[in-house]
């Protein structure tokens, strides 16, 4: 048998001892306990954990909703300012096609509503001009427009419609020039240029006065050098710009050191509009959006106008009298490096060597050190003023075709010991499109005497002196 220790005896005493508090006393304690209110009985379901989890979940859901539906918010804004008055009109079935058209704008339609494009959208009876590079339009529905805000409608038979290129079954309004057309005197253009440049400098949108600027003035949107202005800046610049340059889809201002051009780019990439001052050189490339490089030409007297609605490149090539004309065209044949004819440096040098060899072989030049100008048209090939016979010209055509060069009314190839220039030249020696390779092309920039180009090889002057 296990011996009983002292602690066991004590435990036994404690076990046998009557309880310190009797059951009756506990009964009294329980009777005195307050009954729990109903709301308090629910309260124990809520603790810090449930409160925190609920708050976090709610925050996440709200943030998700806000993030996932920003367009809807903008969408809602478009309905707010347009309130129906006592006189309202409703949209006809043709008008429902209008929102399906593509329109180049990303600004909320709230501001569109204030622009002249609103009647076009609401009435569906007037032609709408769209940008060549179009973006998908945010779908919206207009229910009612105050009649007093609308301009008188032209008769329906005056609306030229065309089949949509993307949806053959859909008739869309034919593209039309911006209304009203630009009418700015040279003084006003100069004033506008200075005012814009000062404002952009003060707003740090450009860093120096020498920086070239391209501004897109679309309805409800102003884009400066590829940067869309926020609402505050938009208000400021719309006050500066819209008075002289009404917003129009695709309308651009091109501002160089002493140049300002206002117009728009055509589907072929040509720039049409009015201008003042000498055209800027290759520095414009810095300001252009990616993959949009400018080739340009300049004449000695460049303070003249570009005529709205005229494809200047076409006129440039067909019209012999090219004095007083500027051309600023977007070349679509440029490669990624900006080469107009897509020829690499090696190909240019190769072409130069082959042409010089053939010139010597055909006794067109005496030695390789001599210079040569080859005019390359569909009808003739002329080398240093001497028209080649058909048999003699054929190898040159094959050679140039092999280098992906096509004949053109003004196309010339200038070869000197240290460089080769291929381009379309005007009768005054200016180059509209071109590509050059080599060195010593700049002879004297300040006083043109002889052939020279700027360091971008895009600006060529005074070819006559070279002869």
């Amino acid at each position: 048998m296990k011996p009983v220790g002292k602690d066991d005896q004590i435990f036994e005493v404690l076990r046998e001892l009557p309880t310190e508090i009797s059951l009756e006393k506990v009964g009294l304690i329980v009777t005195s306990l307050p009954p729990l209110p109903i709301w308090k009985s629910w309260l124990h379901y809520f603790n810090l954990n449930t409160i925190l989890m609920s708050a976090i979940t709610t925050t996440i859901i709200l943030a998700g909703l806000l993030l996932l539906s920003p367009k809807e918010q903008e969408h809602n804004q478009t309905f707010t300012p347009i309130t129906a008055s006592e006189e309202t009109i409703s949209l006809s079935p043709e008008e429902e096609l209008i929102p399906q058209l593509k329109q180049k704008t990303s600004r909320p339609v709230k501001q569109l509503a204030m622009s002249p494009i609103l009647p076009l959208l609401t009435q569906g009876t007037k032609e709408v001009q769209y940008s060549n590079s179009s973006l998908a339009v945010t779908p919206f529905t207009l229910t009612a427009i105050p009649l007093s805000n609308l301009t008188p409608l032209p008769p329906n038979d005056q609306i030229p419609l065309a089949i949509s290129p993307n949806r053959p079954g859909l008739m869309i309004p034919v593209q039309q020039e911006c209304d009203p057309p630009l009418e700015l005197t040279k003084e006003n253009q100069k004033r506008l240029k200075q005012q814009i440049r000062r404002s952009l400098l003060s707003d740090h949108l450009i860093l120096s006065k020498k920086e070239s600027i391209i501004i897109e003035v679309s309805p409800g949107e102003i884009i400066v050098n590829g940067q869309t202005l926020d609402d505050q800046l938009y208000q400021k610049y719309s006050l500066i710009l819209h008075q002289d340059v009404p917003p129009c889809p695709g309308r651009h201002l091109v501002i160089g050191k002493a140049f300002i051009g206002i117009g728009h780019f055509t589907s072929a990439g040509h720039f049409m509009g009015i201008s003042s001052g000498p055209l800027p050189a290759g520095s414009l490339r810095k300001s252009l959006p990616a993959n949009r490089l400018l080739d340009l030409s300049i004449e000695d007297d460049s303070s003249t106008e570009l005529f709205p609605g005229t494809d200047l490149t076409t006129s440039l090539l067909s019209d012999d009298d090219l004095i007083n004309t500027n051309s600023l065209s977007l070349s679509e044949s440029q490669d990624k490096k900006g080469n107009t004819f897509g020829l690499s440096w090696a190909e240019m040098q190769q072409l130069k060597r082959k042409l010089l060899s053939r010139f010597i072989k055909d006794n067109l030049i005496e030695a390789k050190q001599k210079k040569a100008i080859l005019t390359y048209t569909k009808e003739d090939i002329v080398v240093n003023g001497k028209a080649l016979t058909k048999n003699l010209a054929e190898p040159y055509r094959e050679l140039l075709t092999a280098f992906r060069l096509n004949a053109s009314p003004r196309r010339q190839i200038h070869i000197a010991p240290k460089f080769i220039i291929i381009g379309d030249f005007t009768s005054k020696g200016g180059m509209t499109l071109g590509q050059a390779s080599g060195k010593d092309m700049i002879v004297n920039q300040r006083k043109p005497s002889g052939l020279y180009a700027d360091d971008t090889f895009r600006l060529i002057h005074a070819v006559e002196d070279w002869h």
């Binding site: 004590i10 404690l14 076990r15 001892l17 310190e20 059951l23 009964g27 009954p35």
Partner: protein, 182 residues
């Protein structure tokens, strides 16, 4: 009792009374008023009585609540003379001899030096009279583990009691004598 909830609570509590009060007395000895601890636990149990479905769960709830409250409220308190005196008076009122009261005091002091789970298991087994199985449910452990705990606690208690009896300091003796004479 007018309130049916109170009547139901007392009906369920009746079977838990003895072991619960003994456990509370052991927890509170020398540290606090047993009645305060009991009242505090009863209030909590009464408020949560709706969620305690089975009557058997009430005892487990009371034991756990008493233990948690004694730990949280009187964690840092050591033995206080006034509470020791009060509990000694209570024992005297029950007819316990002075020598046994001294041994009980020594036992509680020694129990206080044991590890928490061992002390609880030993108190529940020896004083409250719970079985090993019940203690295992209360402490959410296995019966074997409780058996081991109690065995180790006993050995440790015996060793400490032996040390205590030989090295009992004079202040303790004087305190005890003072208590007895008063």
């Amino acid at each position: 009792m007018a309130d049916p909830k109170q009547a139901q609570f007392m009906k369920a509590y009746a079977s838990c009374h003895d072991p619960f009060i003994r456990y509370c007395s052991a927890l509170a000895y020398g540290k606090m008023d047993t009645e305060d601890l009991v009242q505090d636990v009863l209030l909590s149990a009464f408020q949560h009585f709706d969620s305690i479905r089975k009557s058997g769960e009430l005892l487990h709830y009371l034991i756990r609540a008493a233990r948690n409250r004694s730990i949280s409220k009187w964690r840092k308190r050591k033995f206080q003379t006034e509470w020791v005196d009060k509990h000694s008076d209570h024992l005297a009122a029950k007819g316990i001899s002075p020598e046994m009261r001294l041994d009980i005091q020594l036992l509680y002091r020694t129990l206080d030096r044991l590890p928490g789970h061992q002390r609880d298991a030993l108190v529940l087994f020896e004083i409250s009279g719970f079985s090993m199985k019940e203690i295992a449910v209360i402490q959410t452990s296995t019966e074997g583990a409780i058996k081991t705990k109690i065995s180790r606690a006993r050995k440790q208690l015996k060793r400490l009691m032996a040390e205590k009896s030989t090295t009992r300091d004079m202040s303790g003796i004087l305190n005890t004598l003072q208590t007895i004479t008063l």
